[in-house]
Symmetry: C2
Subunit: 239 residues, 2 copies
């Protein structure tokens, strides 16, 4: 982790341990520089990172303020698939249904920007939150980027493995959402009546070099589906 | 609009008019500087803005690439409530059901960080996409920030009015999502059977100074609910 990322983490911990609330003002730059023993440019990079992450907002000519409007039980829609961070009070477990190597269909090849017929890891899992079904997940990983997966890894966090064991850097993602009704098969996985409401997502995850490595389709149990999403003003003021 | 914002817009238009695709490389910095007649620092600010907005991604030591994985018919979940930009091929209209001034309840006061009993504009609308119901929306605006609204404004884009007529700058937003079943009242508004799947959102929109001004509850017609959400790597690598 780079220096400014370490400092950003420390500032986040400072916010948590001091139980700062939405709108609370952080110390001025000079104080933060002294407190963490770093240069102005490092502190500014740390704060930019925290702003992107939705943990603070900066008001020109005024200061840096805490952004922390969470609701209990709401999951960040865009967080790591492992949910580890946002669900501290919750127990997330996974059951692997299938793990095999397949040849990419046209749909998979298109979403992973690879050749039709090239190899992908195919993983289906049911994920549980506090023992309740949270979602049914079907994922495809480009095998030339993720050369090895097994049941043990898939039972834990695949993303953690990709980052820590394979040393890959995740760059960004695209998610497409639909609302619909559970099919009989999905209802069976989630333990709900056929025709119940569902949130379905298709996500593509890219490395920092822009290469897609994971194409995942997830069907959520509506009874457990509480998500939060943070937006920033560039979306509203710049069109 | 500031210089770097203007240039960012021009780069976006350049991407569109040249029909650049996901992964296509943009010209190098020097070429962009010459092409738009601006300094390196301005171009870099423009590119940072476009990266935040999810229009490009930067690969260290390699260059700037286009990010453009859209699917037809998918609405940006976090865009302006006016939907104008992302729905170019679609006709969005609104019917105002109610527009009145009310006193903030505890729930409203909490979300808008104002006193209970202080005045808010209360607006309910049905929004249509190509003549089909898209959503039922109930919004509350802090009247001390948005001092005037009328039917004509609410029939068009309230956000456009807030930005252009009132000159306010929208900073960021928090959105909370649930999946559920339509109540009889909601089903009536949307023209769907009671109990149909629904996406419900509660959003709080803030000015750049951190002051919340709009608290909105939206119930979407699941048949028209196709959304995309872009994520960036700070969410995945930094926890």
């Amino acid at each position: 982790m780079l220096k400014y990322q370490q400092i950003a983490l420390k500032i986040e911990k400072y916010i948590e341990s001091n139980n700062l609330q939405q709108g609370d003002k952080l110390p001025v730059l000079e104080t933060l520089m002294a407190q963490f023993g770093v240069s102005k440019s490092t502190i500014m990079k740390s704060l930019d990172l925290l702003e992107k992450k939705g943990a603070v907002f900066q008001v020109r000519g005024s200061g840096i303020y805490v952004r922390r409007n969470k609701r209990k039980g709401y999951i960040s829609l865009l967080s790591d698939q492992g949910f580890k961070k946002d669900l501290e009070d919750y127990q997330i477990t996974s059951k692997v249904l299938q793990l095999d190597i397949r040849k990419a269909t046209e749909e998979i090849a298109k979403n992973l920007n690879m050749e039709i017929g090239a190899e992908v890891y195919h993983v289906t899992r049911i994920r549980y939150i506090n023992g309740q079904t949270l979602c049914f997940e079907e994922s495809y990983y480009n095998k030339s980027i993720v050369p090895y997966l097994n049941n043990e890894i898939a039972t834990e966090s695949i993303f953690h493995y990709i980052k820590e064991a394979l040393g890959l850097k995740i760059g960004f993602s695209d998610m497409f959402m639909n609302i619909g009704k559970l099919t009989e098969e999905e209802a069976g996985y989630l333990g709900l009546p056929t025709g119940s409401p569902k949130l379905s997502t298709e996500s593509i995850f890219y490395l920092t070099n822009g290469q897609p490595f994971d194409f995942s389709k997830v069907t959520y149990n509506y009874e457990q589906s509480q998500f939060f999403v943070q937006g920033n003003g560039d979306l509203y003021n710049f069109q």
